[in-house]
Amino acid sequence: MDTSTNTRRPFMNTGPAPRPAAATDPTAADLSAADATALDPAAADRTAAEVTAADVIVVGAGVSGCACAAVLAEGGATVMVLSSALDSVGLPGHGPDIRPGSGGWDEIEQTFGSLPAPLRLAWLNAACVPATGLPLLVVDRRAVSIETKRALEVIPGLMFRQGMATDLRVRKETKESTRDLVEVETAFGEVLAARAVVLAPGLGLGGVMTIGDGEVPGGRYGEVPATELHAALEALGVEFEVIDAAVAARYSGAEMGLPRSCRGPESAVTHLVPVRHLLDGNSDSCPQVRAAESRPRSGAPLDASAEDGALAATSCAADDHSAPVAGALGPVRERLAALFAEGSLLPGSHTWAPDLPPAPHWSPELAQDVCLAGSSGNGAASLAGQGAICLPDGAATGEFYLAADRPTLATGPSAAREAVMADGMMDLPGGCIPTRLPYRVRAFAVAALGKNGKLPGIDNVWVIGRSAGVGDYLASLRSGADAARAILRDMLGDTHEETRGVASTEGGAGDTVLKRGRVDDSLEGGARRLGDEP
């Protein structure tokens, strides 16, 4: 971790409950909530504890919530991340593909550069890049989740708490307290208070999912949505708009005749190179890097010479090491190296040690090192989002994510498959059941937010990520980080210095707040990029 930004600042230490321990002891400061109850005999008679849990409470532990919490804690604030889903902290909840907009690699580099090193590495170590050098990261979502929680838990001042937020209240300044506090109540009756609250409930605000013929409540699949929180915000006069997201189907790689290694004609196959192997100095020994650098057709991009996208399942590019080229990955390697260099973190080196239990997501035997893209033979175009594409979705389950065009997503479970088959990309065996159906989520996002997600009308409340109308993973990461910096500035009352090597993306390529009210009608139009969730 970058130590220069990690000194605790004594800037938000007021509240109704006195901090019992010396503020210089970080552990004690973290314990303020618990201790106040334990040491105050009067507290024992209350039915609910009303104590300051932290300087800032982040509601939701998804992509944006974790980014926000990491930046806040790195900036010296104490942060409580409140989530009802501590088993999927940091989980990229939709597809495994991280796609920049027109910003390309610049956007990827800037976004991850704006994150604290532990979080950045949790993502990048779980990511692969296509051998063609296209601006795309494919992550093992499970690995991102596990590593994000592991990395964030040990950041001083950052704590996780399991709980589902159901209500939000602002307690105005009183005689005892010179500052306003925001209170969050949980489904289990806890009342937690902080100087500021960041809402990052994703698509959980009144979320409803349409899966096949069924409709179920939910923002992230399988989880209880934040319906009560939505109602509470409505009661506070917050304005909403409807947003909509679509997630594609997943199939078992084995069922599709897609083992974890490469199959199919080279025109449709793109090698994926783990970022950590690309950079760790031992890439010569990594089969994926070797394969990627030894392209059979003179290093031409995948699409250029492809005549037919249909998979005949015969040759395999990975087996042919005859014409080594170090083309497309060179510049990518440099950019990624810069992200790792900061903080002197070696790629992959921190991830696992030989004396720990083995993890499937670091296991070479389970590596999913190819993706298939076959829109009428134009592999590169598919990767860029204009056709059917099949991306690996995690070592543990061996699934592939069938990212296809938007109209496909809007319809039923077989449609993705049919579209892909019509596309000539692959022939799924008859009766092949998707491991996960495609689905759509319809939820509310807060409208008319101020700069960096500040909620107008209610002090010290920010909204980030999808519930702020933000579109994709990169934008979610930025919206969390940007809000965190704004909070640090706001609450410090002075300018929070950007100590990171990479400047804030605020207002630049990472202008994360989308225009409102266009999401619904654009859905059927197929105008947007694939995998681009509203």
């Binding site: 004690a28 109850t37 334990a38 504890a49 499970r142 179920v216 993890a359």
Partner: protein, 645 residues
């Protein structure tokens, strides 16, 4: 979506991806059945929602038996373990058991790898909303998204998800586990199919941040050297082990609980289901044992991927602020920061008297049920039932006779017989005391007891069976050597025995006999034995030598138990015809008739364990069965004597 989707071509559908569901699906697929595993969430497969451990006394034997039959739980635990410990090494062999702490996340992921690599198995994310039944026979499972999967057999392993509700204090919301949506529709469909459901309750303790505990105020509980694992087939890989810590509640802890007991869901009535007596919450412990001024609390790591730690012994669903006070009043946890509040979960279960010994429902042919749904608690109990239900679903689909285990063969046999015969009035947990032949049902001989059966089912490979046979041969060979060895009364032997605190020899004595002295271990005796006996022992695998020692020492007891089993088998396995009319049997009490008609036991032994049926009733029944049926059929499965050694 419009069109209804119906998938054909599946033999077995398993509903639920927890510990029971995973074993069921793997067993069925490995037995050659095309199998679909329906799970609410692929990401949550094999989640360990309560303790981060597998095994323990009674439960560890179950896991070993699962492994010996070709199940996955033992192997998977060996992959994800962060601590291995053999419990009760100073006590008798019947209660010796292995317990492992596991990394929860990695445990899940390795199980997913096992599932996804099984070629006959597909994972299907979705909510099972109903079962299709025709002529009292299962035909398909319906999903809430409109799809239908037709199947010959279905295994239900829904855990706590059927109309699940999580509770803390007076607050509750609908969830299968905290934050996860419950299954809302399946219960109604099961009831329409003629199954009765009831409500049970279970609970989990709070988790704290391990970096905020004070190990200096607790006693450290390290693991063993990690050479022994659950799996019979591989030794666990070495790794750095994480310690557990032991602390105790104090009078202050109890004061906090007592003061807030009125807020407990147990008292306030916000939980309606029945909870576990054997894994009681701290609230219940105080109610049940007011005289005790302290209870142990084990602080256990949840893995290497998290700093969270599990507070075994502090299970509670009191309001969160009370939970924090309870934690902080406990030594070593004064500054522990709460990460996950404890909570109770209430759910529908299927009272298991509605099942046969093959875990098939009596009401619907081809419908099987396993795990927490049957009113049990614990990953091991769940996995054991899942394995058996998966095996029997596959056999049913293949039109083969069912596979059951007897009480003298396995803890699995005890578990299932208890469930379907006696029923449950609280979540059932395995103990060694539930097994009448526990000296025979040991950790060390699980493979000898069961692997040939797993092999016959196609779950244990030829080479694995060879491995078992090879060990058995080694054991027999060593046992024979030991049998022949005598130790003479020499100054050397006298010195050694006296140093161990036992009497020196007056004359030469069989080594095996000396080994029966509790003070003497095999290792102690080895130096006194001639090299041709000693050397094979020192070069033999440690588990083989241990079994020889156990056999030598407990031979008398073991022989007695075997004789008892043989004596009982005549009546135990006496079959009762399916159409047997209890009402016509004179001399049976009214209560016995009522219970027996309802339960329809398959053997006299099972009838004898039905609550409300007395030994006198069994005598009447025995006479009647012999007289009426003249030559009762002998059970197909010739009850070979339980092997030992």
């Amino acid at each position: 979506m419009g069109a209804k989707f119906t998938y054909l071509g599946y033999d077995v559908v398993v509903v639920g991806g927890g510990h029971a569901g995973c074993e069921a699906a793997l067993a069925s697929a490995r037995m050659g059945c095309r199998t679909a595993l329906i799970t609410l969430h692929v990401d949550k497969i094999a989640l360990m929602p309560c303790n981060p451990a597998v095994g323990g006394v009674g439960k560890g034997q179950l896991t070993r038996e699962i492994d010996a039959l070709g199940g996955e739980q033992g192997r998977n635990t060996d992959k994800a373990y962060v601590q291995m410990k053999m419990l009760n090494t100073s006590k008798g062999p019947a209660v010796r058991a292995l317990r492992a702490q596991a990394d929860k996340r990695l445990y899940e992921d390795w199980m997913k790898v096992a599932l996804s690599q099984e070629s006959n198995l597909v994972l299907v994310q979705g909510e099972a909303s109903g079962v299709d039944v025709s002529r009292e026979t299962i035909t398909a499972v319906r999903l809430a998204d409109g799809r239908t999967i037709r199947a010959k057999a279905v295994v239900l392993a829904t855990g706590t998800f059927l109309r699940g509700k999580v509770v803390v204090g007076a607050r509750s919301y609908a969830a299968g586990r905290v934050g996860e949506l419950p299954a809302l529709y399946l219960s109604t469909s099961l009831q329409e199919a003629g199954l009765e459901l009831d409500r049970f309750q279970s609970a989990t303790p709070p988790r704290v941040d391990g970096s905020t505990i004070d190990p200096a105020r607790m006693s450290i509980q390290p693991g063993d050297d990690g050479k022994v694992g659950f799996s019979h087939w591989d030794s666990p890989a070495w790794r750095r082990q994480l310690p557990c810590y032991l602390t105790h509640t104090t009078p202050q802890t109890h004061e906090v609980v007592a003061k807030h007991l009125h807020l407990s869901p147990l008292k306030s009535g916000s939980v309606s289901g029945k909870g576990p007596r054997y894994c009681p919450s701290i609230d219940r412990k105080l109610i049940n044992f007011p005289e005790k001024d302290r209870h142990p609390v084990f602080v256990e790591p949840e893995g290497v991927t998290t700093t969270e730690m599990y507070l075994q012994g502090l299970t509670t669903s009191l309001p969160v602020f009370v939970q924090e006070m309870i934690i902080h009043a406990t030594p070593g946890l004064e500054r522990a920061r709460l990460v996950r509040p404890g909570y109770a979960v209430e759910y529908d279960y299927l009272p298991p008297q509605q099942l046969t010994l093959s875990l098939q429902t009596k009401a619907v042919a081809g419908l099987f049920s396993a795990g927490q749904l049957n009113g049990t608690s614990g990953y091991e109990e769940a996995a054991a039932q899942g394995l058996m239900a998966g095996i029997n679903a596959a056999l049913y689909a293949q039109e083969e006779p069912p596979f059951t285990l007897r009480r003298d063969q396995a803890y699995i046999g005890v578990l299932i017989d208890d469930l379907v015969t006696k029923g449950v009035d609280e979540p059932y947990r395995m103990f060694t005391s539930r097994a009448e032949y526990r000296l025979l049902l040991r950790h060390d001989n699980a493979a000898d007891r069961l692997s040939h059966l797993g092999h016959a089912l196609g779950l244990v490979s030829d080479s694995q069976l060879d491995q078992v046979e090879e060990k058995r041969r080694q054991t027999e060979d060593l046992a024979a050597r030991l049998e022949s060895a005598t130790i003479r009364a020499t100054p050397e032997s006298s010195r050694l025995l006296e140093s161990l605190g036992t009497a020196p020899l007056a004359e030469s004595q069989a080594a095996a006999k000396i080994l029966r002295r509790p003070e003497v271990s095999l290792g102690d005796l080895l130096p006194l034995l001639p090299p041709e006996i000693r050397d094979p022992f020192t070069s033999a695998p440690s588990d083989v030598a241990e079994r020889v020692a156990i056999h030598a020492r407990y031979e008398g007891y073991i022989r007695r138990q075997l004789a008892e089993i043989r004596r009982h088998q005549a009546t135990e396995n006496l079959p009762i015809p399916g159409d047997f009319d209890y009402l016509k049997v004179e001399g049976l009490t009214f209560e016995a008739k009522d219970k027996l008609v309802r339960l329809q036991p398959r053997t006299l032994g099972q009838a004898s364990r039905v609550p409300g049926v007395s030994p006198a009733d069994i005598s009447v029944l025995l006479v009647h069965l012999y007289r009426e049926l003249r030559s009762p059929r002998v059970v197909e499965q010739e009850p070979e004597p339980v092997c030992d050694l």
